[in-house]
Symmetry: D3
Subunit: 132 residues, 6 copies
């Protein structure tokens, strides 16, 4: 299996609902350094997993829609705890839709799976990997 990874980041505010979150129930924030990893069993005709330029552009667009925002105010996340693992899945869904819509090129329809990892500090990260 081949994998290709691109990295970018976004910076948001949010708060969590539930005693288990302790002081993170207060409004705070995070920098998320995001790895989007694309996997497929065979390379396409150009010797690529995906066009890394287009993959980076699509990831940048998805992150820009959340960047420099308070996620507590986003209708898409109403009633949700935007934990790191939740956001990894959310970005995965948006990447999967972009692949389905052909935004990464026709060859990207040969992808087997995508993994999205959000690094929230030097000691903690979460990811979601799903089959396409």
């Amino acid at each position: 299996m081949y994998s290709l990874n691109v990295r970018d980041h976004f910076m948001i505010a949010h708060s969590f609902d539930g005693e288990i979150f302790g002081p993170a129930q207060r409004l705070h924030g995070a920098t998320y350094v995001v790895d989007a990893t694309f996997r497929r069993p065979e390379l396409d005709g150009d010797g690529l997993v995906v066009d890394i330029g287009r993959a980076g552009d699509v990831l940048r667009d998805i992150l820009d829609a959340m960047n420099y925002r308070n996620l507590d105010d986003e209708p898409a996340f109403a009633g949700k705890n935007t934990t790191t693992e939740f956001l990894a899945r959310e970005i995965w869904e948006r990447l999967a839709r972009a692949v389905g819509a052909g935004e990464l090129g026709g060859g990207a329809r040969g992808l087997a799976s995508i993994c999205v990892t959000l690094h929230e500090s030097h000691v903690a990260w979460a990811s979601y990997e799903g089959i396409m």
Copy 2:
């Protein structure tokens, strides 16, 4: 599949038995930077893989039991070569027992697997991943 990772470290002395180890047969030591990665197919009711605070505390307790010690003197490791890969498995066993005992909360019983990675330098690491 969702994953959540916490990182910590411990520092030990040890020596290895067997010609294959060359100069590492002498008493020496290592800093191990440890990644404990917890995986599950669906998030729990709080939108979490595990409570990251409890996961970090349980990992810290497990590492404290070995930290600042000469592993050659630990009865638990008598007759064993405490290689990086061996220690990854050992810490995995202790984490799996803690999960089974409910130390990471009831929700952690939904975990599918745990992976423990020990980074021994900037150029070498070993891991053990097992199904719960």
Copy 3:
């Protein structure tokens, strides 16, 4: 010159005032991974720059006072843009006061300077270094 560094992190929300900040004028947030570097020309009697345990504890206390907060609501920062470089200086001031108050031990009064670095992403950081 000897240096000793300890690393920790904190997570906050804030917004900036001024057109130069573009979308960062909106409420957003950041994870700051903090390096506190202590420097002195000669080691103390124990062969140390400072007691690394005490240094880590003092840094942790300073970061806890800001952690999981919206800095826009903190009276100490009223009317200020809490940029990365501003926060580096602020943490430096608090560390310098802790050293002056003897919280890092009497030996720490021999420190020549302290440098505080805040990493806000994998591509950006800021620091403040000042003589004691």
Copy 4:
């Protein structure tokens, strides 16, 4: 499953053929930081995945055969785009052959799979993982 990783690097020139590559159609180059990860279900009699010294030596030899070269001039790559993902597979093939030839020791024949990752910058990497 146990994994053991060794890291090294090599530096090459190359160019790509195809409009999709944009400015990378020009002769340019890259540093590839290489992770070779060896996996097996059980440790060998010495408590090892593979002899890390031999693994590092075999990887070094494979990288030396490409290091400080213009890959466009290498007969082995004639008519190929030596993309990061292509080179990950190429190094995997050479490692697999070395394992088959006994260069990592007889125990290495118990390996389940090998993964080769090439980091081409702080924001991009590619890998190939294959079963032995």
Copy 5:
């Protein structure tokens, strides 16, 4: 003293002239991950060292002029060994000229010094720091 750093990268081919370079006399290449660090004794009126957005844009423009090229063919480098330390100085000169030309804003004329670091692998880097 305050510092602010932005990171980016570029990928080039080149060769070196002189026996001391051994196999690096052959045409090869490198990825350079570049840190541009700006220093000043006091922050500007917005609480900044420099506008990080403009700093990143100016650095990107400077790197784009060399990116995906064979430096042996660049007239600017004729008769020079484009070593990592040489290129750090070259990028420093171009950044200093951009500051002088006002491309980082009028406030950037208060900069005390700039340091440019080029990471060529996980084990080697070089830098040039100069007073403005």
Copy 6:
């Protein structure tokens, strides 16, 4: 000022004497990832700070003399606490002697200073910088 850095590592056992060290009074160990940074105001005739190959070899020889050892048994360190900051200075002394003896080539006599940094974990490091 130009700087050039090479990185390597060594693994040792040791213990510390003094209540301030708490559990580190027990025999334990560390991996030290070592950065040796060489500085000079002007490049030599080959466009170099030092010959990076020779610098790496000399550093490797110095680290090999301590690698895979219990520093408590080394006569050179009798009665000393081999703290991270102490070892940084010790390696600096040995590098400075190697430069004086011409082991890095005649050009290395133009060095202005050397800085030696020992990373003992992902959260702590110490260094010593001295003028040549």
